[in-house]
């Protein structure tokens, strides 16, 4: 029955390009040995024409040519500037490498931005209970490194105290005895933004007297990270998300310094991604496995959203605090929220114009 539903998603989302939904592509068998080649080629037929071109080009290579393939990957240009053929080649090359490394058929999608779409996000800060399910779902979906050695999470949930004002503090001004007009209740954290706990671990959430604030990439319309990148490996896609060509990143970490939301993470070593946990449905600019020495971040789950699916964090939020949609569509959830609710952007004073809105009921 899932097939029926998937088809619905595919047909509905991309009628023009046929059913190129890579959600189906795990049907492709691992192309590890020669005998499975035919299967591989056959299943590749389900992929888009571009992918097919790339696969066909790879068919001419022997398995011994793996090293050459890695070299080819090293020499490839910036994804944004590649021709469609080069893009398909690059993706097919990666598909083969990943399939080999993870022992399953991995697809690397390249669906471009859809016209008339500007992806936006809204988060109901009053609803969030701080359960961190979004952060973990993101890891399941986006192939981050996990484990003791190097754990990467793109979403950080802050817990903030509501604070309390008390009679006892009335006489505890600071600095004491200097007659300066600072009351002892001055430092009650009520309403304090961004001075919270990152590593809270209670038995149950939400705790009384606490509010929670998840933070991830804001997909700024005017992203400071993009401006500082010396090689333009990170850029804003036409439909909104700020993406990274992991193969072009030189690891200078300027973007990490420039990001006011601490949304970017660095691969200090090769990511630790267990084979069985690896999500084989990937996008070149999204959740494909990264390598050591490059920066990564939230892409609004580009591999899902370009195919019409909600981002993974939206789907697991147990309180429905997370909303995603097309800002250009007045009927979308985010557009309605902006129209009906009071929204704010984090650190709006920096003029980064996030497409991630916080709101309250």
């Amino acid at each position: 029955m899932h097939v029926t539903n998937k088809e619905k998603i595919c047909n509905q989302q991309s009628p023009a390009e046929g059913c190129a939904c890579s959600g189906q592509a795990p049907g492709a068998a691992p192309a590890d040995n020669v005998s499975s080649r035919r299967n591989f080629l056959k299943s590749a037929g389900m992929l888009s024409v571009n992918s097919l071109l790339g696969t066909a080009a790879l068919m001419t290579m022997s398995d011994d040519a793996r090293a050459n393939m890695d070299w080819a990957e090293w020499f490839q240009g910036n994804y944004r500037l590649m021709s469609d053929e080069e893009k398909a080649l690059a993706r097919a090359r990666l598909e083969r490498r990943y399939s080999r490394e993870y022992g399953k058929a991995v697809t690397v999608d390249g669906t471009p931005a859809q016209e008339g779409v500007l992806m936006g996000y809204a988060l109901n800060i009053k609803k969030c209970i701080g359960c961190r399910r979004c952060a973990k779902a993101c890891v399941e979906e986006n192939n981050q490194s996990r484990g003791k050695d190097q754990e990467i999470e793109w979403i950080r949930v802050l817990k903030m105290e509501k604070g309390e004002f008390s009679k006892e503090k009335m006489n505890q001004g600071y600095p004491e005895g200097l007659g300066i007009q600072v009351g002892g209740n001055a430092y009650s954290p009520a309403g304090v933004v961004l001075e919270g706990e990152h590593y809270y671990q209670p038995e149950a959430v939400p705790e009384k007297g606490s509010v929670y604030m998840p933070i991830a990439c804001m997909q700024c319309e005017k992203p400071p990270c993009v401006k500082v990148c010396p090689v333009r490996t990170t850029y804003r896609e036409a439909d909104g998300p700020v993406v990274i060509d992991y193969n072009w990143c030189i690891g200078c970490r300027m973007c990490m310094s420039a990001c006011p939301y601490w949304a970017r993470r660095f691969n200090w070593s090769d990511p630790k991604l267990p084979k069985e946990a690896m999500n084989p449905v990937t996008h070149y600019l999204g959740n494909r496995p990264r390598m050591k020495g490059v920066v990564e971040k939230c892409t609004f789950c580009i591999q899902r959203t370009r195919k019409g699916r909600y981002p993974a964090c939206v789907e697991v939020c147990p309180v429905g605090a997370r909303k995603f949609g097309n800002l250009l569509d007045p009927n979308s959830e985010v557009s309605r929220i902006i129209e009906r609710k009071q929204v704010f952007r984090l650190k709006a004073e920096l003029n980064t114009y996030p497409k991630f809105f916080y709101f309250m009921d």
Binding site: W74, I215, I250, M254, S257, R265, S269, V294
Partner: protein, 422 residues
Amino acid sequence: MDKLKRFAVDYVTYVVKGSPAFYAWIALLCALILGLLYGTYLHAADGLRYTGLTDQVHDGLYLANFVFLVGIAAGAVTIVFPAYVYHHKALHSVAVLGEMLAISAVLMCMLFIVSHMGRPDRLWHMLPIIGIYNIPNSMLAWDTLVLIGYLFLNFIGGFYYLYKKYTGQPLNDKFYLPLIYVSIVWALSIHTVTAFLLNTMPSRPMWHHSMMPIRFISTAFAAGPSLIVLIFLIVRARTRLWIENSAIDLLATIITYCLGLALFLTLSEVVTDLYANTEHAMGLQYLMFGMHGFNDLVPWFWGSLAAMIVAFAILLTPYWRTNYRLLAIACILAFCGIWIEKGMGLLVPGFIPTPIGEFTQYFPSTLEIFVTLGNWAVGFLVLTVLLKGAIGILLGEIAYAATAQDKTISGNAEVSIAPELT
């Protein structure tokens, strides 16, 4: 062309010969470089996981040293500027030593950037035409441009001067002087752009103030000449090249002014930030007093401040300043003080707290320290060689005529009195 070949041969044969002390010094540097090689191998094989860097504090010792060394490179202009603009005789005669210092400092900057990068193998992505060079947007692209430009200016200027000295020909002022004047302005640009690299990011309020370029330049023009004075004193003591007192005194005066200005700017920053004490002052507060129980940087900050104040006091008093033993101490204090202030003292509090308010700490790993020492060792190795060659030429011990003459007189003539440069 033949002359040029001769120059290269004579230069190399001269610099590789020296006293046991010289070889011991080179051996020490090479030992440190072995550490660098091992570290670089680990970085290449496994990424930067062996550093103490985290997603919270993702720039550390490497970038700190880079920032400081850009200042040292720029500081070399404190010799060139008085020499060529004010025609200071004593400095004019040794101005080329400043250029040699600039070359080695820029080289160290580049080494530190390579150590800092996650993917140095992809450096070619920055090259125009085959890669993408994000100019004018990226400050890092600008910084690369000005640093490479500065390296070339000093290399060409310095070696042109040495070559002409070597052959005994007069300088072509129409070529040489514009080069010098450009390099003076360029020196300011490298450190200004390095300041822009950091202070153009409002995400890091600790850095985001317009005072940073001038503060960078004032500290650079204190730390740079401090190192130069130390080098001059060593050169005077260990080689036959005599550097006039007036040269050292002028540099001491420059250090005094610039150190005073640097201290004033530090004070201004402290007052500006801590008076209102907004959320944006947390980095500085963490640096000066510690926050949330983290106070590892506190002794460094106050130590650096004390060093700079003591150095300033010594330099400000003419009686002490002209005592070269005390002057050397003042220079060491100023150099170290600024290294701390501008390196770790500037970078780390920029990351603590993170833009979303997380407090962490940064402990450089042993490997990081080894790589850092190794990079410095490479720089000092290059500096030693360059200075030795330059001094040899200035002394006339390497000269085109001399070699030609030596050749005719005795087939296996050696430069018998090599400067005992350490």
